[in-house]
Symmetry: C2
Subunit: 405 residues, 2 copies
Amino acid sequence: MSRIVQKFGGTSVGDVARIKKVAERIKHTIDQGNQVVAVVSARAGVTNELIARAREISNDPSEREMDMLMSVGEQETIALTALALHELDVDAVSFTGAQAGIRTDGIHTKAKIQTINADAVEAQLNAGKTVVIAGFQGINQHGHITTFGRGGSDLSAIAIAGALNADRCEIFTDVDGVYTADPRVVSSAQKISEISYDEMLEFAASGSKVMQSRSVEFAHKNNVVFEVRSSFNFNRGTIVKEEVPHMEKVVVRGVAVDKDQAKVIVSNIMDKPGSAAKVFQAMADAHIVVDMIVQNVGRNGIANLTFTVPQGDTLKAQKALEPVLDDLGGGHVAVHENIAKLSVVGVGMKTHSGVAANLFTALAQADINIDLITTSEIKISVVVDLDRVDEAARVSHTVFGLDAE
Amino acid sequence: MSRIVQKFGGTSVGDVARIKKVAERIKHTIDQGNQVVAVVSARAGVTNELIARAREISNDPSEREMDMLMSVGEQETIALTALALHELDVDAVSFTGAQAGIRTDGIHTKAKIQTINADAVEAQLNAGKTVVIAGFQGINQHGHITTFGRGGSDLSAIAIAGALNADRCEIFTDVDGVYTADPRVVSSAQKISEISYDEMLEFAASGSKVMQSRSVEFAHKNNVVFEVRSSFNFNRGTIVKEEVPHMEKVVVRGVAVDKDQAKVIVSNIMDKPGSAAKVFQAMADAHIVVDMIVQNVGRNGIANLTFTVPQGDTLKAQKALEPVLDDLGGGHVAVHENIAKLSVVGVGMKTHSGVAANLFTALAQADINIDLITTSEIKISVVVDLDRVDEAARVSHTVFGLDAE
């Protein structure tokens, strides 16, 4: 008998009819001789409704009370899911995050899981029960309810799978798994059957919407193997796990596109020590995530700094830069939103040379201009014009041999 | 500084605007130099919505899961109420029933409070906080969420007031307090300023809708004084407390009418030992609450049993009686729904005679026929025709000197 943790997101449990479908899916897994722990999110839209109600009361609501409020969403779903399982003669019991022993730090609305005391869940499993656990939530050392922020239910599932020594952790979503590229853009994209944590992280950081980085990081740190698969069919998905030697045979695992980037150019600033630090300190103080950074220094001691930020943050970035430029004694800020980032990712790059050259050549042959470049050990990212990025994705998908036959 | 527990029901917290009003009320009490613990219900309608969703899944939902589901309603309200208090610069913190240390027995959907460990609430109060607690819910010895059934939030408030040694417990509702009669029927009815637990219990059992018996019983047992008052104005309400000598000076405290009764007549059954027991065992097995009982035995060993049941249970009662009659070797069942119960209540009856005689005379003078009679130490109830009961209430209100000048 295998022990399987199955996570279902807000769309999968969006209404009563879908909750019944989820229950059938769980039952199907049990019927194959497995022990199941299900982790479920709030019904799609419920968390936003609750937030809207809080906003009617306060523009700056207490985060502790927001956690108290939002945790209600998953609590509703676990009860309904347990009831739906009962109707299928599955002996199920629901647990809130607190009841499941999920202890977090004290940071409300974006708490981190510290420990899981899985004794209560373990006891229910040993008694033959199927346990349905509220994702996205835990309890801190003071007994206050905490929530984990975006992607929090994935995190719950992975942490619970680790604590229970589960044989499998399945993250059900609306896609079949992780693809070598977005199939809507690159029609020859293929599903990846196995991917390393590091590659998955680079995909997450490169605009792939499948999972949040933090859940992948948590899985990596705790060595939890998980599978991303579709809740609409029974196809095997993508298994995310520690890198194994055969993975390196594939040089590039896939291509990701991030269209949610904008380029900020800070030009004509004095190139003196601390200039760049002041610019990026201002971004950090404004809670703006800076991605790619390039600095050019001209001959006359004048420097240009170029970096990318999420598109939604461009106004905030410009505002935050004004006092910095005053401080630096001048300079100019320009924003370009018509750009996108293309990344090619693969652990095989560590041991294969020529990947960058191949990429740049392929893009040049397609007459696609490269604006910025950054690299990591297993990733090369380039910024290109927004209206050329889809073509860039197809070209690089082909050049690295990723196209399906 | 007084410590005050204030309970607000589902209508009082029905939407965001009303929650803000409740927060203002709490703030008003704090501004008068008091420490406040607020106990709130789910927003009106929310519990029913949740139940409806569960019913879409199951006709016979698990009571444990229903508790998990329904407790969500109050949890939402406590968070919103705390947020509304923050907007008024009140340092408030919300607690679920479990967090407030409310321990119950294991009976789901109608749990009884066993103990309250108020340490966590006490600590918050001592830190200068206002505590908002979810009514209607607690936690059992296994850490499972339980709910208390109808009137459960009143029970929470009274139990918390007891555990915290509160100076006052205020049950806010949509009426100004307990009246000598229903003011819609008896225009000369007056608000009662003080009433004993026993009288309040008899009112609750006699059709007064102000509070459920169990909350009054709990208050009596734990000697918690509480006040029933309106959430719409600042008038003093009715204080419910242990009987004090001066209360006995008023012979009749008030008049209550219960129109939700039906009369069941079981006629022509053999008068042998155990006949009545079989009839009432059948009612108990069908979970039908029997109120007034009268038995007449004729000369020929044939008996008639007459009793009252809630109107909604008449069909169930008839069905449950069929096998009993077969067992008793015959008999006949008739149901009369056009009846109502009038009760006069007062602790003064214990020491005053002639109350029954005065009541019967007054009704006879008004040409109102009495069908059944039952009495307790502090109450006399009579069944009369439904279309005469309002007049009966007015007549008895007058004869016992309850009319306002």
